[in-house]
């Protein structure tokens, strides 16, 4: 590479990183700044808006509900998806394509369109089953299917499922033991990834909750902004940091297996 070209490339890279770095970092910084503002321009920095979070019952309730939804969705996802995927791989390999297609389907159906069809379903659920916000987990399970399917599928593909299962079965293990003590420990990274993805997705979800008339965290943040901009932005920053932390953990624990897979391909 000639010196002139190397210099040009360097200038190009620095320019791109500076401009886009500013575009992405300034809004997040501005949110922090806004949430620590005092009442007037000259008043000192204050954490009042942050402290106010726990004094708004609606907000606390919605945050609790969202956290519960995140846990329920993750557990339900594992209970539904993992046994099905294992079973299909072992006993009904012909169905794998169909399951994959179904799981990836929600990616191509906009959430705002899917929720229109869910309105009658949820009207029925509210009347006949329960009007608890936790019922939303049933719909969220659909939303997380594409992401969790891919993660779990990659995990299952990386182990010799058939041999492991047959070995355990021939030693007298029941299906429960095979799942809990053989398969789960072997794909623990994939399971953790799938759970983190589900949690991040559920905590950020707005469309379903808003249009099915439930007040989850994101909806409550929007309502709170009509009352106090500072507090609502403080919650938004907090939820963002939480999701950020979750996904950062994910991107780092996801690495080692990636590298192994890539090394095998090469």
């Amino acid at each position: 590479m000639s010196r002139a070209r190397r210099l040009k490339l360097r200038v190009f890279r620095v320019a791109v990183f500076l401009v886009l770095g500013a575009f992405f970092l300034i809004p997040i910084g501005a949110m922090f700044e806004f949430s620590t503002r005092g009442d007037t321009v000259t008043s000192p920095r204050t954490l009042d808006a942050w402290k106010a979070i726990i004094t708004v019952p609606d907000l606390v309730q919605a945050i609790t509900a969202s956290l519960q939804l995140a846990v329920i969705t993750s557990v339900a996802m594992l209970l539904l998806l993992l046994p099905t995927m294992v079973w299909v791989r072992l006993r009904l390999p012909g169905l794998k394509r169909i399951i994959e297609f179904i799981c990836l389907l929600p990616l191509t159906v906009p959430a705002i369109a899917l929720v229109v069809g869910m309105v009658p379903l949820y009207r029925w659920i509210k009347i006949n089953v329960s009007d608890s916000i936790l019922m939303l987990a049933l719909a969220y399970l659909i939303l997380v299917l594409p992401y969790t399917y891919r993660t779990l599928d990659a995990g299952l593909a990386s182990i010799d499922l058939k041999t492991l299962t047959e070995a355990a079965r021939s030693l007298g293990a029941g299906w429960g033991t095979v799942m809990m003590r053989v398969i789960v420990p072997n794909i623990s990274t994939a399971i953790l990834n799938a759970c983190l993805l589900s949690v991040a997705l559920v905590l950020g979800e707005f469309t379903f909750a808003n249009l099915l008339f439930y007040e989850n965290m994101q909806v409550a943040i929007l309502y709170e902004s009509f009352v106090s901009a500072g507090t609502s932005i403080a919650v938004a920053v907090a939820s963002l940091l939480f999701a950020f932390a979750l996904l950062m953990i994910l991107s780092f624990i996801g690495r080692p297996r990636d590298r192994v897979a890539r090394a095998e391909e090469a």
């Binding site: 809004p27 869910m118 379903l121 950020g204 991107s251």
Partner: protein, 301 residues
């Protein structure tokens, strides 16, 4: 059990294990299909059936013909323009960022942090994103607005564009650029330095390389990724709801208003027709993306 069909024919008449096995095997996938049937298939059926039903339940096409109202046609146009512009801007900026990343150290900290951050920011939409930009560019209170006003620059000389379509487009770029980085990086990784060297040894310069070698190779992938960005923006709802909150400027907002209107003007049939139209558009664009992606992967692997 892989040859289940044949086994059944052979053992169906005989009582015992062989005959019982097949139903038991299928029992394993019943929960999954039951759940998906109720929460994915059933809503879709509701959607399709409802879009062809009049208020009294009779079969009609009126929901689709009533899409042809000025404000809805305008909403479709607006959505298309916002999606197109944010896809193009996001696509180009994202491709530049991806190229800047790819020309660096592949194991370096820069690449790691850009890809990790992209993964996070591509999912970053909705209420939080709207608030972030209100805190940045909000009229009279935003950090950047105030800073620029102190330096006598008014970014809203002819009205506040932040709550208009141009503001929405700017916000969408915030998740479009990271998405482009994620989906376009693999294509850029497929470019080999040897191709550049070959171009140079044949007497070509940088322009020749991009015009005749790298450009044509990357074009299908770039186009496909931009289509994906278009579909992504077309489906987005939460950000617009939090930023604009009133009116039916884009289709998702129109659907939400038709669905939740409390003044007796709710039109669920029309909302379902709009939703179906959206699904068709997004599905078409996604299929096109898949086709282009397959085409470009012939060379770049």
């Amino acid at each position: 059990m892989t040859s289940a069909g044949i086994t059944v024919v052979g053992t169906a008449a005989r009582p015992g294990r062989g005959g019982r096995r097949l139903p038991l095997t299928w029992l394993g996938v019943v929960p999954f299909f039951a759940y998906v049937g109720v929460f994915l298939l059933l809503p879709t059926l509701f959607l399709v059936a409802g879009s062809f039903a009049a208020r009294d339940g009779s079969l009609t096409l009126s929901n689709f013909t009533s899409i042809n109202q000025p404000f809805l046609v305008q909403a479709f146009m607006n959505t298309a323009v916002v999606s197109l512009v944010s896809a193009l801007v996001g696509g180009i900026a994202g491709a530049l960022l991806a190229y800047a990343v790819v020309t660096g150290n592949p194991r370096g900290i820069l690449r790691r942090s850009v890809t990790s951050a992209s993964g996070v920011l591509a999912q970053f939409g909705g209420v939080t994103l709207a608030f972030a930009f209100l805190a940045t560019l909000g009229p009279a209170t935003g950090l950047v607005t105030v800073f620029l006003l102190d330096h006598r620059i008014d970014i809203f000389p002819s009205g506040v564009w932040l709550y208009e379509l141009s503001g929405l487009t700017l916000l969408y770029c915030y998740f479009q650029i990271p998405l482009m980085v994620i989906v376009f990086l693999p294509a850029l990784d497929g470019i080999r330095p040897q191709w550049r060297e070959a171009t140079e040894s044949l007497g070509g310069n940088t322009w020749h390389y991009w015009r005749y070698v790298a450009g044509p190779l990357l074009a299908p992938s770039f186009l496909g990724c931009t289509l994906l960005l278009f579909a992504n923006a077309f489906s987005a709802y939460a950000t617009a709801q939090a930023l604009i909150s009133q009116g039916s400027k884009i289709v998702p907002l129109a659907i939400s208003n038709l669905l939740t209107s409390e003044t007796g003007r709710a039109q669920p049939g029309l909302a379902k027709a709009l939703a179906l139209a959206m699904i068709v558009i997004v599905a078409l664009v996604t299929v096109l993306y898949a086709v282009l992606q397959r085409r470009s992967s012939q060379w770049l692997r």
